[in-house]
């Protein structure tokens, strides 16, 4: 009987491991989405993703019930001119980080619902191996200190 219980727990544990899989190695820090101005056709999401695993991680898609679709974009500024280009994937190096920040790479939430500061938005990321990972972002107002300065929280 004891063996059976061990086996059950063991199997359950393995299943849990399999479910967690790679996702367990991506940590999302300071994940937020900009509050939407009325009639906004798009808004942006920012986060710092740390990969604690020893293999490169690739996010190939994202979706959310809070918008029509989620895209990855990068703003590049050359000679004072901002150009946005769509990115097919987000790559987080093994043991490294990827920072999505205003004026750089960001999530673009196309056709968003009205999002108000303080609400939470659930976004599901799909990894290259098909695994899915859902994380919650906080809605923040642009121009507020916490929104503009991702490191503000770490300061006294």
């Amino acid at each position: 009987m004891k063996h059976v219980r061990t086996a059950v727990i063991g199997t359950a544990f393995c299943l849990l491991c399999a479910t967690a899989g790679f996702a367990g190695e991506l940590d999302f820090h300071d994940f937020w989405v900009a509050e939407t101005p009325p009639s906004a056709m798009a808004t942006a999401g920012f986060v710092r993703i740390a990969n604690t695993g020893d293999a490169e991680a690739t996010i190939t898609a994202a979706e959310s019930s809070a918008c029509k679709r989620v895209e990855f974009h990068r703003t590049e500024t050359t000679d004072g001119i901002a150009r946005m280009t769509r990115q097919k994937r987000l790559t987080i190096p093994a043991g490294g980080e990827l920072e999505l920040a205003p004026g750089g790479t960001h999530l673009m939430l196309v056709g968003p619902a009205a999002l108000h500061a303080g609400e939470r938005v659930s976004i599901t990321f799909e990894l290259e191996d098909g695994e899915k990972l859902t994380r919650e972002a906080e809605v923040r107002v642009r121009g507020s200190r916490s929104a503009d300065d991702p490191h503000a929280h770490h300061r006294p």
């Binding site: 009639s39 906004a40 798009a42 942006a44 001119i81 205003p102 939430l109």
Partner: protein
């Protein structure tokens, strides 16, 4: 034998004319040099990195846009105000709302400046109707002004002050993106471009720079 085309000496009657010709040229050159020296403007005001204060403020051209209340928005709207102006589009998810967020933070810091106005000019009139601007712009601050107009009138304004904008080559369909200058322009109360903020992110730095520029004043 043909006559020598270049005689060794000029006839006496011509020789006295030479100084008469040369003197005015020398005088003109001297006058021009003095004028150039006088024209060199004083050193530009240094108000911090990322801000260019124009040595000679640049008068704005004529243009006619509409503001989000439906009123005419032309160069005269800059009279008697200091104005921060930014050029973008409402579909922009990153730079434009971030800059309007910065405007909001600057406005908080400069509440005591009564004649300061903030203008968002949409360079995407195809999608940004006045109704859309009326919803979008006041969200950032009820006093902010949204303006747009025909592509020609927008170009009259932007091309004269070096603001770049065009549809992105990489995007098509109704969800197209725009490439555009990220600079914020400061217009003085004489409707002239006074300063350019090339990386307008830090509201404290912008507010401090503005106070210095205002205190210093722009050239008459």
């Amino acid at each position: 034998m043909p006559p020598d085309p270049t005689p060794a000496t000029l006839p006496t009657s011509v020789r006295w004319v030479v100084p008469l010709l040369v003197l005015p040229i020398v005088a003109a050159a001297a006058w021009f040099a003095v004028a150039m020296l006088r024209a060199i403007p004083p050193p530009a005001l240094d108000v911090g990195p990322g801000v260019t204060v124009l040595r000679a403020p640049l008068p704005l051209p004529d243009f006619t846009l509409s503001d989000h209340h439906g009123r005419v928005f032309d160069a005269a709207r800059f009279d008697d105000h200091w104005s921060f102006v930014f050029f973008g589009y409402t579909y922009c998810p990153d730079v434009c709302p971030a800059t309007l967020g910065t405007f909001r933070a600057v406005a908080e810091r400069l509440q005591d400046e009564p004649d300061l106005q903030y203008v968002f000019v949409s360079v995407d009139p195809e999608r940004d109707t006045l109704e859309r601007l009326a919803e979008f712009v006041p969200y950032f601050h009820p006093d902010f002004i949204g303006a747009t107009g025909s592509p020609e009138e927008i170009a009259n304004f932007t091309s004269a002050i070096g603001v770049y904008h065009r549809k992105s080559k990489d995007s098509t369909g109704p969800d197209y993106l725009m490439d555009h200058s990220i600079s914020v322009m400061l217009i003085d109360p004489e409707r002239r471009l006074a300063a350019i903020f090339s990386a307008p992110k830090d509201p404290d730095a912008i507010a401090t720079a503005f106070r210095k520029i205002r205190e210093h004043g722009t050239a008459p």
